[in-house]
Symmetry: C2
Subunit: 225 residues, 2 copies
């Protein structure tokens, strides 16, 4: 896959050594995340909204509701910016100054459109569901025409993007190594707990395999919430 061209819009200004324009790196971060933050502007006023997303090739699908402010904006073909952050750990240094986070983040730019045809909309909903739980789509009741009509899906063509990543231990000043301060990393992961069946269920059904060992790569933790 080709790199994203480095332009004024997607350039990493701070600590460029942590930056990447590599398309595969950017797409892996997008694909692992369950939530993205969509930014747009109306008459100079910025808005940022958390949303569910899924990617296929160079298109990011967003799932929203007919009549929302964002979808009105997208219909006009206005620019959007989407950010995603996966937290991998907290970095504890001996000095306040060298504390940091380990993370993988993406900022991408594009212009959206509303998905119009029933066919493309259903396909996008399948992509969104398979992003969350691969294997789920073929088991569930598919959307009726009325449900499809009540759903809005936006497609953003990814024009430009960059990733920023940090990993590893703290980097302290040589003079601080003698301080009696614990230093290191507290690793963080998203964890999936034991699936909780709907209490309204009228039949007992086994937990599907894709939920019993849910991986994103999340941890699976055997504990009730």
């Amino acid at each position: 896959m080709s790199d994203f061209p480095e332009t004024d819009r997607n350039r990493i200004h701070r600590i460029p050594a942590r930056g990447s324009y590599d398309r595969e790196t950017v797409y892996q971060i997008i694909d692992e995340a369950l939530v993205c933050h969509v930014g747009f502007a109306r008459e100079g006023q910025p808005f940022t909204i958390p949303m569910l997303h899924a990617r296929r090739d160079d298109t990011l699908y967003l799932h929203g509701a007919r009549g929302s402010r964002l979808f009105g904006h997208l219909r006009e073909g206005s620019p959007v910016c989407v950010s995603i952050a996966l937290l991998d750990g907290i970095v504890f240094a001996r000095s306040a100054y060298h504390h940091s986070m380990n993370y993988r983040s993406v900022v991408l730019f594009g212009e959206g459109r509303e998905v119009e045809t029933e066919e493309e909309k259903e396909r996008a909903l399948e992509i969104l569901m398979e992003h969350v739980a691969p294997g789920r789509w073929r088991e569930v009741r598919r959307p009726s025409p009325a449900e499809l009509a009540a759903t809005s899906v936006a497609a953003i063509r990814i024009q430009s993007a960059s990733a920023k990543l940090r990993s590893g231990p703290p980097v302290d000043d040589e003079a601080d190594f003698g301080l009696p301060v614990w230093a290191g990393e507290l690793p963080l992961r998203q964890a999936a707990l034991t699936p909780q069946p709907d209490p309204e269920s009228r039949q007992e059904l086994p937990v599907p395999g894709y939920l019993a060992a849910y991986r994103r790569p999340f941890l699976t933790v055997d504990r009730n919430p």
Copy 2:
């Protein structure tokens, strides 16, 4: 604490029953999150950037780097929008249409300024560090004047905000209850793994109590990454 006034800017358009303008609800979500997404616009082009934050009263502090695009924007007193999302679970319904997420999210609006005095900057850095790890600030080496000068801190006065929350099992159509599809919730939590000491450490120090049982309320999982 008083509610945020409901205005055109912070109004919940979609599923208003999930919305809240209650200041305490909004602030609890801000205080639990480790990352926020800061949106701003320059000449109609939106930007969204993941950042570390901490709140004190009605002020949100952001920690960044001198010379960044965001800080140039804040210095001009331009409007910003900040979004935060905590994922609590994935909601699996019998129909594709009723799938959902359990979450607690916040969208807030304000105008920023750069923190100028050394005194307020150091105080803001303390607030940011104590947000991540309460108890840490009094153990570490404090920033030197040169380090303070190399750090930028923004203060955003929270003018307006709203929260959106969903919890609980799926809500399926009555006609779908007979389908042989597992339905329920997959609970998600952020988990903190075993702290990893800096391999460059020249002395063995015990893991501080605030890291050995790190709670946000994250899970603490006894597993190496």
